[in-house]
């Protein structure tokens, strides 16, 4: 029962303080100047959506392919090493990923950019997607592969069209959980996209994101700014918990024991 207390307290406090802030203007407007009482978190929401889209394009295909490799070809020493390193990468401190990308891109070009942020987030999604893809492909019975082979379908075709589509729901679960994870990820973004008070303007300018907005607003003394942070926290928590609960409801009973490692 002890475990439920923090969750209940977090949810209650966020909803209690955040609910009054939410309005159409709050979701779409630019952040106000400190001292004023008009403003919103439009850029943060836009930035988070942009990052999710970019990361999905860059991070998910390599993740799925890694998962396919581990499940279909990975039953040897090399495969075991990869699986091990993949697990290590899952538990990597996200700030270290942030430094890596910042040192490679941001410091070299002296520019914070959405691309750098998305690369950092892709590195975080990769092992998660790979792991869930592998687990769900492993649940596909061999008879399905044999049936496809018997029809004379090539192996890569079998894997892509038959095995992967049988394992589809598991792969989608992994993708959605990794999106939930990255939408709340803050530390690497602090070093790569910096945060901003304006909407996206170009590919080499800082952008904003929901978790960064919460972090920056939380440290302000101004009550209105702090109020905005509560609202942003509420929206973020709604996104993350909806994704998680949705996935759990949709796949209830299946893959039950694999999820605890994510």
């Amino acid at each position: 029962m002890v475990a439920v207390v923090p969750l209940a307290s977090i949810l209650l406090e966020v909803i209690r303080n955040g609910i009054s802030t939410i309005s159409f203007q709050f979701i779409t407007a630019l952040p106000g100047v400190p001292g004023q009482t008009v403003g919103g978190i439009g850029p943060a929401i836009q930035g988070t959506l942009l990052l999710i889209a970019l990361t999905s394009v860059m991070g998910i295909p390599p993740g799925v392919l890694t998962g396919i490799y581990l499940a279909e070809f990975g039953n040897n020493k090399f495969g075991r090493t990869i699986r091990f390193l993949n697990d290590v990468l899952t538990e990597f401190p996200s700030i270290v990923v942030g430094i890596l990308v910042a040192a490679l891109l941001v410091v070299a070009t002296h520019q914070y950019s959405p691309i750098a942020g998305a690369i950092a987030l892709s590195i975080i999604t990769l092992p998660i997607v790979a792991r869930t893809t592998e687990e769900s492909i492993k649940t596909v019975p061999n008879s399905i592969r044999d049936a496809a082979m018997a029809l004379g379908i090539r192996r890569w075709r079998t894997t892509i069209s038959v095995v992967l589509s049988t394992a589809r729901s598991g792969v989608i679960t992994g993708v959605l959980l990794s999106i939930a994870r990255i939408s709340g990820e803050t530390a690497p973004l602090l070093l790569t996209i910096l945060g901003s008070n304006f909407f996206f303007s170009s590919w080499n300018q800082p952008i904003d994101a929901l978790p960064l907005r919460i972090f920056n607003d939380a440290s302000q003394a101004d009550p209105f700014t702090r109020q905005q942070a509560w609202g942003a926290a509420m929206i973020l928590i709604i996104i993350v918990l909806t994704l998680n609960i949705g996935v759990r409801l949709a796949t209830r009973g299946r893959y039950g024991s694999n999820r605890s490692r994510i």
């Binding site: 439920v4 490799y69 990869i82 538990e91 972090f215 973020l236 759990r248």
Partner: protein
């Protein structure tokens, strides 16, 4: 299979025949080969990323390591003034160890209690929803924990825990300081709350992997319920639980945002953790807090902090994964 066909040999020389053989195979690559190569290449991404991180961090910290040598690890200075720069990582390494220590010593017993309850005592109708709630707790972003810690938990702790402790036990050095709620103790507490979901759900998995025969054997010699848990289950799943605890330690060491928001952000020799109630700093919070303004040597110092953190996290994680793996492998073997 296209690979089975032999490429025609060129009699001009071995060199060119090899080349031709290679180009023949390249032009006759089947979809299968290509697919295997492609998925192989992507499977290596994890290796490449870990190796690249190591290289980039070492290269980035060469300036500061060259200037201070070992003093970078053992010093406690923090001066950004040009000409008299001084950077030492000792306070932050200690800060990281102290906060993680608090997190482990509070978080592990609570997690074990939850895991024992879920795995051994709760009926299925309670176990399933409760384990899902615990896993949801793991999904809450760390910035939200930090925000909640900063505005809700910290004032409460300052009022009901720290004030009585400082006024009652203030003469003991570790309880010395002013109780304002943004300090090392708070950093450790928020970490404890954050590692509980991970540690308890892995421990639960490990305990549930213990064969029922273990429990039955303990019951059959007349053990009470607690004795069954202690002898039959805990001792059997010892190494897995240990692995879960180390994994929790890894999380605590690398956790950034929540700690940055509640730890107070001290720098230099002020950050040496002499008391639980003074503002501190961990390696991760140092990087998050200072990176924005960092230039040249300071930047290198922060990359150096990243290197120390990277080494620490890698060591802890490899060890933990190994422990958890060993147990789950036994489980898989037992099922088959």
């Amino acid at each position: 299979m296209s690979r089975m066909e032999e490429a025609p040999l060129d009699h001009a020389g071995v060199q060119s025949s090899r080349l031709q053989n290679f180009s023949y195979r390249l032009s006759h690559l089947s979809g299968d080969d290509m697919f295997e190569v492609l998925s192989n290449v992507f499977a290596c991404t994890a290796v490449v990323i870990i190796a690249l991180t190591g290289i980039v961090l070492v290269r980035g910290s060469i300036p500061v390591l060259g200037k201070f040598g070992l003093g970078f690890l053992t010093g406690s200075g923090w001066s950004t003034t040009f000409g008299q720069e001084s950077y030492g990582m000792l306070p932050y390494v200690l800060g990281t160890l102290v906060t993680s220590g608090i997190a482990i010593s509070i978080g592990i017993p609570v997690s074990l209690g939850i895991a024992i309850f879920l795995a051994e005592m709760a009926p299925t109708s309670v176990r399933v929803p409760l384990s899902q709630l615990v896993e949801l707790l793991a999904a809450v972003p760390s910035v939200i924990y930090g925000f909640w810690g900063l505005l809700v938990l910290s004032p409460w702790i300052a009022k009901y825990v720290e004030t009585p402790l400082t006024s009652g036990l203030g003469s003991i050095p570790i309880f010395h300081g002013s109780p304002h709620g943004l300090d090392l103790l708070m950093g450790g507490l928020i970490l404890a709350i954050m590692i509980i979901p991970t540690v308890s759900s892995i421990s639960k998995e490990v305990m549930m992997a213990v064969p029922t025969s273990q429990r039955e054997a303990a019951y059959s010699i007349g053990a009470t319920r607690w004795e069954v848990v202690r002898m039959g289950v805990l001792s059997y799943s010892r190494s897995g639980i240990f692995g879960a605890a180390i994994l929790g330690l890894g999380r605590a060491v690398g956790e950034t945002m929540a700690v940055t928001m509640v730890i107070g952000g001290a720098l230099g020799s002020e950050a040496v953790p002499t008391s639980l109630f003074i503002p501190g700093q961990t390696l991760a919070s140092l990087i998050a807090g200072q990176f924005k303004e960092a230039e040249s040597l300071q930047l290198s110092a922060l990359v150096g902090a990243g290197l120390v953190l990277f080494g620490l996290a890698l060591l802890i994680n490899v060890f933990a994964q190994f422990m958890v793996w060993k147990v789950l492998k036994v489980k898989a073997g037992a099922v088959e």
